[in-house]
């Protein structure tokens, strides 16, 4: 049996989650590897969530928000956009390929794009293979400490 990656998706309530709904109600098929977690805004996505997901065994994480300028909360997606490159730098520190983390803008009407993005990302992670971090077996506290010591102000942006 081939490798089936586990992917966590953080979907903003107003655009991407609704977009995923649209993909569902439109009977569009996308791989079941991605399981979405609804957050009110992509700005709610704490880098800690992403690190935790990788630590707990996710092979990829995708964060989806509203298109720039379309944020339901005016500019939460910009906050997310600014945090993402810094989060990528952190996961690199842990030996995680930065391509395992992705940020996508998907609006409520873009069910087809949601399907496309998830399919493409799943295939990409499948090709990359399982995340080796599982063997490293970091403890959540260690991650938190490392984050706090090295990149203490990442979340302030």
């Amino acid at each position: 049996m081939s490798f089936e990656p586990k992917i966590i998706g953080f979907l903003c309530n107003w655009c991407s989650y609704t977009g995923a709904d649209l993909a569902g109600t439109s009977r569009m098929k996308y791989p079941p590897n991605m399981v979405g977690i609804r957050v009110m805004c992509s700005g709610r996505v704490d880098p800690g969530f992403i690190l935790s997901a990788f630590q707990k065994g996710a092979d990829g994480v995708i964060v989806c928000g509203c298109h720039p300028g379309d944020c339901h909360y005016v500019e939460g997606n910009y906050k997310c956009m600014r945090r993402m490159p810094l989060t990528k730098r952190i996961i690199k520190e842990f030996g995680i390929d930065e391509n395992r983390l992705r940020l996508e803008w998907i609006s409520a009407s873009e069910g087809a794009i949601f399907q496309e993005v998830i399919t493409e990302f799943t295939n990409q992670i499948r090709e990359m293979g399982p995340l080796a971090l599982k063997e490293l077996n970091y403890q959540p506290d260690e991650i938190a400490d490392k984050v706090a010591s090295e990149m203490g102000d990442i979340t302030h942006v």
Binding site: I8, G43, R44, D46, F49, G152, H156
Partner: protein, 585 residues
């Protein structure tokens, strides 16, 4: 005030003592001809046309000037005796000796039956009435004009006959001059184009628009003489109700409100960047707004459709989708243009004999009665061409001489390239969002989409509400809209606002963020992050505090809090970590 009894042409009347005969006569409807009298200035008795006969009833009589002869008890005035007429004739002929071409003098001469003035005629136009000097001194307060020299040499001039800084170019002297001796000269040669139609009268007092609320005139400081010289105030003199307030200024007022309706409207696309249409270059290429202005019966052309040279156009082309449905400018459809373009054709057909060409991409007649109107326009013989105009070039450069302009386009229905000579082109410009929409939206915590229109809470289910509770949208600030849609949305917004007000209390979402004061370090990072300004800083306790009524539970602050002091209710860290764990277990 002491009153005196006088008689004018036998009519007894009571007037204020020391007022002048001229006003007294005017008050009972007897008009006395005059060239040098103006109500807001001291009488000067320079023209001497206003002379009348004053009698005391006991045999004394005298020819006096009505404009500056004060009345006294028992005065009897006769305004049209042979003696008066004779005196006026003589005075008028003396004025004509130096000044004849003026229409006002010729009219008076006709009235008094002077065919050939006794002392001949002259071609100088100034009659030295002094109105200009007095208006500049007494009304305007600029003191830029004065009499110079004496006797035959007497004249009106600026100091040393030079351009003077004292002159504020108000034009009052030119306006008041009875013989048109003074003219305003254009400082720069100006080419009048249709664009100026939009400016309207540049009077210092205007009612901004016909539907203005409140519908009262306003003073424009830049044009008002009073704000330049401190003088004038003629408007205050004539306003019987004492409504003129020169000290009124803009002020900021603070209002406590329970709901806000945004109705900031739209902006009209400026077609200048579309160089191929030559807007601003060819005077007869005009925007839809200018065409609409032209059609206004109270507008500059009195509702006539005219070209720049004042002639009626023989052919008019109307371009749809100028700036809209165009990847270079706005991709969206402006919705209203097809219908108003059709209305324009109808107006042209109704008002002129001109041939009309409509150049459209798609004819979108989607509303009630719209398609029927389109059919009616077709029946009226309007040429409807499916195709976007490529370019407008001056016809003179080309083989055709018929019109001034040559429209080049492709008729996609017959698949042919066409060149249409026209006299005038109307550009149906796109509706676009107000330039300051984003900044205005920020004040009310509502966001704008990529096109600058305000985003509604839900495109289908909450098209009037915004993401900020209590702020509603009405009209074209939310997207391009025609009048019925704007009215409908306005009504809906008003109802929504009233609903809030009549409830008297606000229902809150259970999801909002809380700060645990125990853990808050007072770093203030969250304060600047909140797009809803829901987070305040409590200086006393050195902690940040969230106003739960303003919080929309986006969670941006939760993710940013370095010590995890903020909890997003219903989306707590624990809940999300549990979900992650659950998914991956």
């Amino acid at each position: 005030m002491e009153k005196v009894k006088i008689k004018i042409d036998g009519t007894p009347l009571e007037v204020e003592k020391d007022s002048y005969i001229l006003q007294a006569a005017e008050s009972i409807g007897i008009s006395i001809p005059t060239l040098c009298y103006y109500p807001h200035m001291t009488p000067y008795a320079a023209c001497r046309i206003c002379c009348v006969e004053a009698r005391d009833g006991k045999g004394w009589s005298k020819i006096v000037t009505a404009c500056n002869y004060p009345v006294w008890e028992g005065l009897e005035v006769y305004t049209y005796t042979p003696r008066v007429v004779n005196a006026r004739r003589t005075n008028l002929q003396m004025l004509m000796r130096s000044c004849s071409p003026s229409p006002i003098l010729r009219k008076l001469a006709e009235e008094f039956g002077i065919e050939k003035p006794r002392w001949g005629t002259g071609d100088y136009t100034c009659i030295l009435c002094g109105l200009c000097v007095r208006v500049c001194d007494e009304v305007v307060g600029a003191h830029a004009l004065s009499f110079v020299n004496r006797g035959f040499e007497r004249d009106v001039a600026t100091p040393f006959n030079l351009e003077t800084e004292s002159c504020i170019l108000c034009g009052a002297c030119a306006k008041i001059c009875p013989t048109d001796h003074i003219k305003m000269e254009d400082i720069e040669e100006r080419v009048l184009s249709h664009r100026e139609l939009n400016l309207g009268p540049n009077a210092a007092i205007t009612i901004p628009t016909r539907q203005a609320v409140p519908n009262v005139p306003r003073i424009h400081r830049d044009n008002c003489i009073h704000f330049k010289t401190g003088g004038c105030m003629v408007c205050a003199d004539v306003c019987e109700k004492d409504c003129i307030n020169f000290n009124d200024t803009d002020k900021v007022e603070e209002l406590d409100v329970g709901a806000i309706i945004m109705a900031t409207g739209f902006n009209s696309f400026d077609p200048t960047p579309l160089k191929q249409y030559g807007y601003g270059k060819y005077p007869n290429v005009i925007s839809a707004e200018e065409f609409e202005q032209m059609n206004n019966a109270a507008g500059p052309t009195g509702g006539k459709i005219l070209m720049e040279n004042g002639e009626e156009p023989k052919t008019i082309a109307i371009f749809h989708c100028v700036g809209s449905r165009d990847k270079n400018y706005h991709e969206y459809c402006s919705r209203v243009c097809c219908m108003y373009a059709l209305k324009f054709s109808h107006l042209v057909v109704e008002k002129t004999d001109a041939e009309v060409y409509q150049l459209y991409i798609d004819m979108r007649t989607y509303g009630k009665g719209y398609e029927e109107f389109y059919q009616r326009i077709l029946d009226e013989g309007v040429n409807v061409i499916r195709g976007k105009a490529a370019e407008i070039i001056p016809a003179s450069k080309h083989r055709s001489k018929e019109g001034d302009l040559l429209v080049q386009c492709e008729d996609t229905l017959i698949g042919k390239f066409r060149e249409i000579p026209v006299d005038m082109v109307v550009l149906c410009t796109a509706l676009e969002s107000q330039k300051e929409a984003k900044e205005t939206g920020r004040i009310f915590n509502i966001s704008t989409g990529a096109d600058g229109w305000y985003i509604e809470a839900h495109p289908k289910l909450a098209p009037v509400s915004t993401t900020t509770d209590g702020v509603f949208l009405a009209g074209a600030c939310q997207g391009a809209k025609d009048i019925p849609d704007s009215v409908a949305q306005g009504g809906a917004a008003a109802t929504q606002a009233l609903k809030l007000l009549s409830q008297g209390e606000i229902f809150m979402d259970a999801a909002y963020a809380e700060i645990d004061e125990k853990y808050c370090s007072g770093c203030k990072i969250c304060n600047d992050l909140c797009p809803y300004t829901a987070i305040d800083f409590d200086d006393e306790n050195n902690v940040s505090v969230i106003n739960s009524a303003l919080c929309k539970a986006c969670g941006t602050c939760v993710a940013a809090c370095p010590v995890g002091a903020i909890t997003a209710r219903h989306f707590t860290d624990d809940q999300i970590y549990a979900q992650i764990e659950g998914i991956l277990s």
